[in-house]
C-alpha cells in the first residue's frame, strides 16, 4: 500500500501538529472557562430559589439538547447578523464549547452536591461551622473529588467534538488533514488513508491519557 510518503513530505507532520494545537487550544480555553462557570452554575442550581433553578435548568437543557453544530452556526453567523460582530471561527468555537462545558459541568456539580449525605451538613452544624465554612471545608472538597472522573470524560469529548469547528472555518486538525489530502490529490492518490491514520494517532495520544486518568481517579474515589 503506497502513499505513506505523504507524511514525510515537506511540512505534512508539522502542519498536522499545528492543526492539533488549534484543537487543543480551543478545548483547553473552553475547559478553563467552563470549570469556574460550571461550579457557579452548579451551586446556583442547588439554590433554594425555585425560579433560579427553573431558569438555569431551561438554559442548560437547551444547550445540551441543541446539536453542537447548530450552536456553532448560531453563534458564528448569528453574532454577525444580529449584533454586527465579526467573531473569528475560533472565538465562536470557544464560546460554544464553554457554554456546553459550563452546562454539562453545572449539572455534574449540582449532582455531586446533592449526593453529599445530609449528615455531613448536620455534623458541620453541631461543630459550629457557618454555612459558608461548611461549604468551603466540607461539601465542596467532597463534591470536587466526585467530579474529577466525569470532568476528564467531558474534556475528552470536547477534544473530539472540536472537529465540528472546521465547518465554521476553523483550521483545526481534521481541516488541516483535508487540505493536505486535497493539495496532494494527484501526487499521492492513496495518501488520504495515511493522513487520517496520523490524525487518528494524534487524537488518541491526547484522549487516551484523559481516559486513563479518569479511570484511575474513579477507582481512587470509589471507596
Amino acid at each position: 500500500m503506497g502513499g505513506a510518503e505523504i507524511l514525510f513530505q515537506g511540512e505534512t507532520i508539522s502542519r498536522l501538529l499545528s492543526g492539533l494545537m488549534v484543537t487543543i487550544r480551543i478545548s483547553l480555553v473552553s475547559v478553563a472557562i467552563s470549570i469556574p462557570v460550571g461550579v457557579v452554575v452548579g451551586i446556583a442550581m442547588s439554590s433554594r430559589h425555585l425560579l433560579v433553578r427553573a431558569v438555569l435548568r431551561a438554559i442548560l437543557e437547551f444547550v445540551r439538547v441543541m446539536p453542537q453544530l447548530v450552536l456553532l452556526y448560531v453563534v458564528f453567523f448569528g453574532s454577525a447578523t444580529a449584533f454586527g460582530l465579526d467573531l473569528s471561527g475560533e472565538a465562536a468555537s470557544v464560546i460554544v464549547f464553554s457554554l456546553w462545558g459550563a452546562a454539562e459541568l453545572g449539572d455534574l456539580v449540582r449532582g455531586a452536591l446533592a449526593s453529599i449525605p445530609p449528615i455531613q451538613y448536620d455534623s458541620a452544624y453541631v461543630l459550629g461551622l457557618s454555612r459558608m465554612q461548611t461549604f468551603v471545608h466540607i461539601i465542596l472538597p467532597q463534591a470536587l473529588a466526585r467530579l474529577m472522573p466525569p470532568t476528564m470524560n467531558l474534556v475528552s469529548r470536547m477534544v473530539k467534538t472540536t472537529s465540528l469547528c472546521m465547518l465554521i472555518g476553523v483550521v483545526e486538525l481534521i481541516r488541516v488533514g483535508q487540505q493536505i489530502i486535497d493539495f496532494n490529490r494527484f501526487q499521492y492518490p492513496t495518501g488520504a488513508l495515511w493522513v487520517y491514520l496520523a490524525i487518528f494517532v494524534m487524537y488518541f495520544l491526547v484522549c487516551w491519557p484523559l481516559s486513563i486518568a479518569s479511570r484511575r481517579l474513579e477507582r481512587r474515589w470509589a471507596a
Partner: protein
C-alpha cells in the same frame, strides 16, 4: 444540685412533623456534670429531642437554655452552638479529611485557634481513645468503632459544655460497641455533662445518673436511681418497654415439626 443553674435546660419543647406530634411539651434539665440517659421505643422522638436541643430542628415552641443562656429557636449563633456537642449514630466523619484533620477542623476554623494548639489538643484526645497512631488515616480505612471514637474526639475538641450522644453504637458490630462505650464511661467519670440516647440497657444502667423514659411525646418516667429503675420501673409503660429487652427462656426442645419436611 438544687439551686444551681442547669447546664442544659429544655422548657416546654414542642415539635411536630406535619400532623404527627413528636414532642408534646418536654421539660427536662441536665445539671452540670450529670449524665442523663433517655430511653424509649423506636420512633418515640429521642433523636428529635436531641436534634432540637442542639438546634438542628426548629422548635414549634419552647426554649433551650445552655447554662442559663436562652438559645433562640430558629437562628442560633455559632458561639452558643459550640457549647453543645453532638455525636450521631451513623458515621459522620468528614471523608475528605484525615483523622487529625477531622478533629482539628472546627477548633481552627470556628474558634480560630492555631494549628499547633489544635493539634496538641487533638493529640491528647486521640491518645485518650487510643487512636493517635491513626491520625493520618482517612475515615474510610477505619473500623466503625474507631470512627465513632474519632467522632467523639472531634466533638470534644470544641470543648463543649454538654455532649449529646444519639445511639452512637447502634450501627456497630457487637465487638466494637464496648470500645466506644468505655470511652463514654470514661468521659462521664471525667465530669462531662451528657445527654445520652441508647438501646444498650446494661450500658445505660452503668453510666446514668438519671434516666428518663420518653413515650408518645411525653416523659413517661424519670428516675434518679437507675439500678432501681431497671430492676423495678414505677410505670407500666416503662415496665413494658424494658421487658422488650428480655427473652423468655424456652421450656424444652420443640418437636421440630416446622423444620422437618
Amino acid at each position: 444540685m438544687s439551686g444551681a443553674t442547669p447546664m442544659l435546660e429544655l422548657r416546654g419543647l414542642r415539635k411536630s412533623f406535619g400532623d404527627e406530634v413528636v414532642l408534646d411539651g418536654i421539660d427536662l434539665s441536665v445539671a452540670s456534670g450529670e449524665v442523663l440517659v433517655v430511653l424509649g421505643p423506636s420512633g418515640c422522638g429521642k433523636s428529635t429531642l436531641l436534634r432540637c436541643a442542639v438546634g438542628l430542628e426548629p422548635l414549634d415552641s419552647g426554649e433551650v437554655l445552655v447554662d442559663g443562656n436562652l438559645i433562640s429557636a430558629t437562628a442560633r449563633d455559632a458561639s452558643l452552638r459550640q457549647r453543645v456537642g453532638m455525636v450521631f449514630q451513623s458515621y459522620d466523619l468528614f471523608p475528605n479529611r484525615t483523622v487529625l484533620g477531622n478533629v482539628t477542623l472546627s477548633p481552627m476554623v470556628v474558634q480560630h485557634r492555631s494549628r499547633s494548639d489544635a493539634e496538641e489538643q487533638a493529640h491528647s484526645l486521640l491518645d485518650r481513645v487510643g487512636l493517635w497512631d491513626k491520625r493520618d488515616s482517612y475515615p474510610s480505612t477505619l473500623s466503625g468503632g474507631q470512627r465513632q471514637r474519632v467522632a467523639i474526639c472531634r466533638a470534644l475538641a470544641m470543648r463543649p459544655e454538654v455532649l449529646l450522644l444519639d445511639e452512637v453504637t447502634a450501627a456497630l458490630d457487637p465487638e466494637m460497641v464496648r470500645e466506644v462505650l468505655d470511652v463514654v464511661i470514661d468521659l462521664a467519670d471525667g465530669g462531662l455533662t451528657m445527654m445520652i440516647v441508647t438501646h444498650e440497657m446494661r450500658f445505660a444502667e452503668a453510666v446514668a445518673d438519671r434516666v428518663v423514659m420518653l413515650d408518645q411525646g411525653h416523659i413517661a418516667e424519670t428516675s434518679d436511681d437507675p439500678p432501681a429503675f431497671f430492676r423495678d420501673p414505677a410505670t407500666p409503660r416503662a415496665r413494658a418497654f424494658l421487658s422488650t429487652f428480655d427473652y423468655r427462656r424456652r421450656s424444652g426442645r420443640a418437636s421440630g415439626s416446622l423444620t422437618k419436611e
